[in-house]
């Protein structure tokens, strides 16, 4: 007990030095918390943009199609009988089921042409899963059985298209013959997901099915569920259902379709951790330095205490208590700074536009501002990390200080 008291007392002896060492740790933590919050915010937003505009929570497809879903081929499509569709809708957790037919097409405005992704949807069902229709900046949503299309405003600008213009989509049907779909642009949207805005044209599902000659087939089904965290349970349920019905179908969570985005954010988080590690390493050296300096200053004291019968372990303990105090102080200061920084970030946000234009090129489906996210586990983790780091880095120098010969120590030679 005495050692602990001594350690705590000693902590207040060199206030400035201890504060400086604590500041190293505090700054390291602050930098980490700030970057972590920014990245979590970026991640959360891009995940939202994927779920709300691209995949929904769960997608169902033929496993062979899923393997090569990037190719958007018209093979391995699926057909959903009304009964199965009904049983899907009857599952309690599911709030929306949207069939989709994806295909590659060449968009032609009469002068130029460019490759786009065509997406056949049933607007009534689509709106139960996605929110693209809420982002129309002009015109209306498409409806079934009419030759209409909507597209992103940026795509329209690139192709010099306005509402009520007619466009031609050049496609290849399932039998590998060419076909053209003539449609009227009835609406333009501007969503926060640049991948959808820049290269996707939405068309009524039945028109697409006729033009591609695929009967009633679709590429995949997107599903929205009430509680995002239940997605794995729902996926299991669905897969069991498909097995019972003997259907060659499989359900996938949105995470499986967004693998590349996830890989990217993992890589970026690695970057933040490296900076944390480097600064913490300096913090460790700082704590070691601190203890050595204190020990040098108190050589005579240590010698005296040893002469009076204090054990080496007790001296070590006193130094370790001092170090842990510094680690704690640094951790608390860092977290306080972090609260300020993250608070500012989550309130005012950070406009990616300042960094120069379109982040979609970098694989981040975000337009607009990103906001910081409170990541409380990170705060708790860092508080503990501060203490643990201080504790371990103090052991060696504390032993070095305690092992001095009392006689020599008192003479300070």
């Amino acid at each position: 007990m005495f050692s602990i008291k001594l350690g705590l007392r000693n902590l207040t002896r060199q206030k400035r030095r201890n504060l400086i060492t604590a500041l190293i740790i505090a700054f390291a933590f602050f930098a980490y918390l700030f970057m972590d919050s920014l990245m979590e915010g970026m991640e959360e937003m891009s995940f939202k943009n994927i779920i709300n505009f691209d995949t929904g929570h769960i997608q169902i497809a033929n496993p062979d199609y899923w393997e090569e879903r990037e190719e958007l081929s018209l093979n391995n499509l699926l057909y959903l009988s009304p009964e199965v569709q009904k049983s899907l809708q009857d599952i309690e957790e599911i709030s929306g089921v949207s069939p989709e037919l994806k295909f590659t097409a060449t968009l032609n405005n009469g002068i130029d042409e460019m490759p786009v992704i065509g997406l056949g949807i049933d607007p009534e069902k689509y709106k139960n899963v996605f929110i693209t229709q809420d982002y129309l900046v002009s015109g209306t949503m498409i409806s079934l059985e009419s030759h209409q299309a909507i597209m992103g405003a940026s795509l329209a600008r690139l192709m010099d298209l306005k509402i009520n213009d007619h466009i031609t989509l050049l496609v290849r049907t399932k039998e590998e013959t060419f076909n053209a779909i003539d449609v009227e642009v009835v609406g333009l949207f501007r969503t926060p997901n640049p991948m959808i805005d820049g290269s996707t044209v939405f068309l009524p599902l039945d028109i697409v099915q006729q033009s591609l000659n695929v009967d009633e087939q679709i590429s995949l089904i997107s599903i929205r569920i009430n509680q995002e965290k239940e997605k794995n349970a729902v996926v299991e349920n669905l897969n069991r259902l498909f097995q019972e019905e003997n259907l060659k179908l499989e359900a996938y969570t949105w995470e499986e379709s967004a693998e590349t985005v996830i890989a990217l954010s993992v890589a970026k988080k690695g970057g933040a951790s490296v900076i944390l590690a480097v600064v913490l390493l300096i913090g460790i050296v700082g704590i070691i330095n601190n203890i050595i300096l204190s020990a040098l200053e108190r050589t005579e004291e240590i010698g005296m205490m040893k002469a009076l019968g204090m054990k080496e372990t007790e001296i070590v303990l006193a130094f370790m208590v001092e170090a842990v105090g510094i680690g704690m102080l640094g951790g608390i200061l860092g977290c306080l700074l972090g609260v300020l920084g993250v608070g500012w970030m989550s309130k005012y946000g950070f406009n990616l536009g300042y960094l120069g234009g379109d982040m979609s090129t970098y694989g981040i489906p975000i337009l607009d501002k990103i906001y910081g996210v409170w990541n409380f586990p990170a705060f708790v983790f860092l508080l503990f990390l501060g203490i643990v780091v201080a504790l371990f880095s103090s052991i060696a120098p504390a032993w070095w200080a305690a092992r001095k010969d009392p006689v020599k120590a008192i003479y300070h030679r």
Binding site: V266, I282, G363
Partner: protein
């Protein structure tokens, strides 16, 4: 001054342990800064180089409406020379301009190949083989066959694209494309070479063909998409602008063309410049934190020697000299730490620059337009080592002034009384 150096040196050896801990702290910071800077410089340099090679040149001449339509590879806004005299005449005139060492013409268009049941989309680049080899040394990336020759109906393509098409060198391939007049045409050409590139754009998307061939196929005689002007040094590309502007003011009466320096093409370079500033901030931040350790040590040294300082001042040492003395002690530690750090950081950089760091998995989601090489090779350069060394010394020196000025301000009478 000399005796101050001697004094500083002797003082530093009083507690070797204490001194070496501060040196280690500075060294750790400089090692990380040296390595990080080498890595980031490597990434930026290779990206800039790719950007210049495959997109921007040093200065780019394009039709003023082409920039907007570049993404869709529009052929309706081409470069056809001053008042329609043809691109090659224009290139000759541009070559005359002082500072322009080379003019590289390119015609870029979209094409598809119908492959069993799918359409493979690709980018066709009509090029002048001699100019292209001189500029980008693309022939070094040829893993099989040879480069295209002027006038022949032949193409060279990336290995990724060939795999997608299931073709080998010597095979024939039928391309379908649209002319500027909107008619769809097809041509069959022979593959004469295979390019192996780590750049996804070149490896998986692009095929090269002779420019005359492309012009004939697309019915665009004498026209190109862009003319890339090469100067002796890309960092100095702006210096040819005045002469070029003069030529264009004379010849280009209708203001059809615009000139773009490489760092104005696309948004990439502007973004990188911001990133570089952010990284510079992080470097300084890390070194400042390491200096905290040193400041602690200096404060203790000063406390320990308060009586000495008092005595020296009483004996006539000026407060400016006291300041120098402590700054010298700090700077010595900073210089030794920075030196060790720069050397060790350089060794690590050198080691990693051989293997490279593979980011392919994380980069998969990125668009192929981006000129990122997915394997980063840090560059080992003396410039980097020297820069990091001096950055370390500079930051440490500034940091030392705070405790040293405190020592210099001590009153001799007060200081001598301290126990």
């Amino acid at each position: 001054m000399n005796y101050l150096w001697n004094l500083a040196r002797k003082n530093l050896s009083r507690s070797k342990l204490r001194t070496s801990i501060s040196i280690i702290a500075i060294a750790i910071a400089i090692i990380s800064v040296t390595f990080a800077r080498g890595l980031i410089n490597g990434m930026i340099e290779s990206t800039y180089q790719n950007h210049i090679y495959y997109k921007a040149g040093h200065v780019r001449v394009i039709d003023n409406e082409y920039e907007l339509k570049e993404r869709i590879l529009s052929l309706n806004h081409s470069v056809d020379g001053f008042s329609g005299e043809g691109a090659s005449m224009m290139a000759d005139k541009l070559k005359e301009v002082e500072g322009v060492t080379q003019v590289v013409p390119r015609i870029k268009f979209g094409a598809v190949v119908i492959q069993e049941d799918e359409l493979v989309r690709m980018l066709g680049w009509g090029i002048d083989p001699a100019e292209e080899i001189k500029f980008t040394q693309i022939d070094k990336d040829l893993s099989e066959g040879r480069m295209v020759q002027p006038g022949n109906r032949e193409i060279v393509m990336g290995s990724g694209l060939m795999k997608k098409l299931n073709r080998e060198v010597e095979d024939k391939v039928t391309l379908v494309y649209t002319t500027p007049y909107g008619s769809i045409k097809g041509s069959t050409l022979k593959i004469v070479g295979k390019i192996q590139s780590s750049l996804p754009l070149i490896n998986d998307n692009v095929f090269y063909l002779p420019i005359e061939q492309a012009q004939e196929m697309l019915e665009m005689p004498g026209q190109v998409s862009e003319l890339l002007l090469i100067t002796p040094d890309y960092k100095n590309a702006g210096s040819v602008l005045p002469a070029l502007t003069k030529l264009f003011a004379q010849e280009d009466k209708s203001n059809k063309y615009i000139l773009q320096i490489w760092d104005e093409v696309g948004e990439l370079v502007a973004l990188f410049k911001i990133a570089i500033n952010m990284y510079n901030f992080i470097y300084v931040f890390i070194i400042v934190l390491a200096s905290f350790v040193l400041i602690n040590t200096l404060i203790m040294i000063i406390n320990e020697r308060t009586r000495e300082i008092g005595m020296m001042t009483a004996l006539g040492l000026k407060s400016r000299e006291i300041l120098y003395l402590f700054v010298m002690e700090g700077v010595t530690i900073g210089a030794i730490g920075s030196f060790i750090g720069a050397i060790l950081g350089g060794i690590i950089t050198k080691m990693v620059s051989v293997t490279g760091i593979d980011y392919s998995a994380a980069m998969e989601g990125m668009s192929a337009d981006l000129m990122f090489d997915p394997i980063f090779y840090p560059v080992f350069s003396l410039e980097n080592l020297i820069f990091c060394f001096f950055l370390g010394v500079l930051v440490v020196t500034i940091a030392c002034i705070i405790p040293a000025s405190k020592a210099a301000r001590l009153e001799p009478t007060e200081a001598l009384r301290q126990i």
